[in-house]
Symmetry: C2
Subunit: 493 residues, 2 copies
């Protein structure tokens, strides 16, 4: 038996491919950001909902809604056979927070308030090929209103998103929420008489406006376009006169919302759906103003499309407008950190009845990266005060020091490794980013004193100090044992 065990190779200590661990500040910075966002959601009357990670494949639907990634999948498995029963259910890890919301809205439709405002924050899983910076488990942070057909719900989500970004730490002026309406675009496509099947292709072409500009989109909508690398991208095949209203729509952004709305009214021509969409945008614009959200924070922008096929009305996207350096050291805009819109079909899968819904999802990792890039992630990364151990028979004394410091609200710990090598203890304190080390040998204990070593000052001196300065050790002070807490507090302040 013992021999058999010896033969077995040791298990590999690795995360599965595409998964990672989060240590220390990785966890606390994200938590602080999400807590700030939750405060705003809560104040807007949204209630938290936490569904389980596991859903039936039946409830979840097998495929991701994102049409641009048809290969994206879920992690799924089949339950063991039910005794006397037959095959077990297929279960899967949720791939987003919207599909579980749809299931909850259907399952608890008689119990939940209607409309139901909820927020959800938590991990989701995608069974995709992992890549650099692309993980198979990541956080989402969503807020949705289920059961309201009113654009007031969309306007509220946009206003709340602006508040949430600011409360998380993004300064006003550093973000802009752009709002569009699928109905306007659908009206234009309807009015121009294009084949119904082309709508998705047209959306995809418009989505490239940011990158290829008006002329590029015109080519993509008609006969095709050669990109920078020389590769030819086939066009949608519209006639130039069909492409014209789409381009008019795309470029109808005016100097302000009033101007944009006037341009849009002209661009939609006689389409009833288009006119309705413009009217909704006008209402959203008025409501945002009423809620004190100016056009410096949220604005109508007809070039915003959003990839997902299931949006049916207003769509919105929050962009960070400051520049950062990309991987190659080039300056570029930070870009999108949140997006959402109105979707009316998700609950219908379960109940057969249309349930209007609208919501937003914040890209947790991207927003956190933005806060870090601006130095605003705001965690207190300071390590604990480390009480070193000079005399292993006096552990209780050292623990009393740690307890006293903690009772005074100071983060503190006793060194718990092998105390033989004192250098290791200081290396440990360094690794812990400890601001202060406490030292008390037998001599100091007999004299009723402790040494308090300011490690931050010490590191600064060590970096640029002469041998004489180093020997003078001004970063270490001897104080009476009774003054331990006061002295540490003095250094930390």
């Amino acid at each position: 038996m013992a021999k058999d065990q010896k033969k077995q190779p040791r298990p590999k200590a690795d995360t599965p491919k595409g998964f990672r661990d989060y240590f220390g500040a990785d966890v606390t910075e994200r938590k602080q950001m999400l807590d700030r966002i939750a405060e705003i959601y809560h104040r807007h009357g949204f209630d938290p909902l936490e569904t389980s990670a596991v859903e039936t494949v039946e409830a979840l639907g097998k495929f991701l809604p994102d049409v641009d990634r048809p290969n994206a999948g879920v992690f799924a498995w089949q339950e063991a056979e039910v005794p006397g029963g037959g095959a077990g259910d297929w279960l899967a890890l949720r791939y987003d927070l919207t599909a579980p919301l749809a299931r909850v809205a259907a399952q608890f439709r008689n119990d939940l308030p209607s409309p139901y405002r909820r927020y959800a924050m938590g991990p989701v899983w995608r069974n995709e090929k992992p890549g650099p910076g692309r993980f198979r488990q990541f956080y989402q942070c969503d807020a949705d209103t289920v059961g309201s057909a009113s654009v007031a719900a969309d306007a509220e989500i946009c206003a709340m998103l602006a508040d949430a970004l600011e409360h998380a730490g993004i300064r006003r002026g550093d973000y802009l929420i752009r709002i569009n309406n699928r109905k306007v675009l659908n009206g234009i496509i309807e009015a121009m008489g294009a084949a119904a099947g082309l709508a998705d292709d047209i959306l995809r072409s418009i989505d490239k406006f940011d990158k290829v500009g008006e002329e590029g989109v015109r080519q993509l909508l008609t006969s095709g376009r050669k990109d920078e690398s020389g590769a030819f991208i086939e066009g949608v095949g519209l006639a130039p006169e069909q492409a014209a209203p789409v381009l008019a729509f795309l470029t109808s952004k005016g100097a302000d919302n009033a101007g944009t709305l006037a341009n849009l009214r002209a661009a939609v021509g006689g389409s009833a759906s288009g006119a309705e969409g413009v009217e909704e945008l006008a209402q959203i614009s008025d409501m945002l103003a009423a809620m004190g959200v100016g056009e410096d924070r949220a604005i109508i922008d007809p070039s915003i499309v959003r990839g997902l096929g299931y949006y049916t009305g207003p769509v919105f996207e929050a962009e960070l407008t400051f520049e950062i350096l990309d991987d190659k050291g080039r300056r570029r805009q930070f870009g999108s950190v949140a997006g959402g819109g109105r979707y009316d079909g998700l609950v219908e899968r379960f109940t057969g009845q249309k349930v209007p819904a609208t919501g937003v999802s914040i890209g947790v990792d991207r927003l956190l990266a933005a806060l870090r890039a601006r130095g605003l992630a705001g965690t207190d990364a300071q390590g604990p005060v480390v009480v070193t151990v000079m005399d292993r028979d006096r552990m209780a004394d050292y623990q009393a020091m740690g307890a006293e410091l903690r009772a005074a609200g100071i983060r503190a710990e006793v060194y718990l490794g092998n105390p033989k090598n004192f250098g290791n203890q200081l290396k440990y304190a360094d690794k812990r980013q400890s601001p202060v080390a406490i030292i008390q040998g037998g001599d100091e204990a007999a004299r009723g004193v402790v040494q308090v070593k300011d490690l931050i000052l010490g590191a600064r001196i060590a970096a640029g100090a002469s041998h004489e300065e180093w020997k003078a050790q001004p970063a270490q002070t001897e104080v009476p044992r009774a003054d331990l807490v006061a002295e540490v507090r003095r250094i930390l302040e």
Copy 2:
């Protein structure tokens, strides 16, 4: 195509068996409790660690460590084949937070500080038969110190657990941490010369001390015992003189730690391992006293065993000592809410080297239930102020009211359902546990006033009011529009 879709039955809107959703206060109360616990862990120098939900089966080990539930399993699935590669890895959802910690401690052993203090909070999954109140996803909340062989680490965990329980809201006197040491028991078993394979059976018998008392354990250790229902439970088969030292150990709890330690020293007789175990308990007792944790909070108790086979030294358990009513209305002690101990073998699986570790796991759901039973879960369950909609063309006005209230820090929302039936709006406010409703019809708008309805007072009046009192409606006040925030604040205070 459309026809095919029609034929498909609608998916069932259900959570998978054994899973559940958490709404509103379910989420916030747990979060508040965990945040309070995390504050204490952080102050003790513990760093957060968040591993992913998914591990390789190889790293996780296939089986739960709990020997009492050998059928307990994990949710596992096999990755798709690697192209040109062969079979994919088997992945699984973590079943606790200790196995991932062991993997992390091995994987990052060159980067982590040593000793490594970490805490972790999050869901774990068990592929078990669900039962009433027993779910297949639940929270754990762990703190462990990896890489310290010193009992100072165990003492620190016990002191921290006491602080954490108090900071979460459990009053001093309402909990007790009981501490024992496996080495003492192992020493006794060793000294009595029982077959090595009997150790687990002896542990199991001792674990019943709470329920069956000294005489019951004596029977279980020797020839067997008839329980209340008349069923016979087979005994371990020890001779009475072999059972005697085990019983002496079990009943060696004295009036205080000093008394218990004296009794234990007598009970272990000549066993070296037993003597070492008693000495460790004496040190833990001294250290707890040094950290200001008195015997009213943590105490040596030889009757604590803890089921898990992997504990190798000190073990501890936190019990809540107040009584609650059980399902059948009988008074009983609340019981255990946390437990842990020293385990030295977990990291060894990966590296071949023993890494001493000790830690505690708080039963999140049980502690939360205890706080709720004591009315200490401490969430602010108050719903939002609801701004009702009398005139759907003036949504922007209502939204301005909501925004004003929120800007003043008051949780507030506008009714977003169909406003036609005003009764539905008040029913909605009721479902939202709203403290205040705001009403402004066209008439009030023209006069520049709003109606502010105190729903809590209103409900109190409605419950015991005569028709006259009801008509007088003292719970509703008309105030100038400009005084909206002040009036709502007055009611909420």
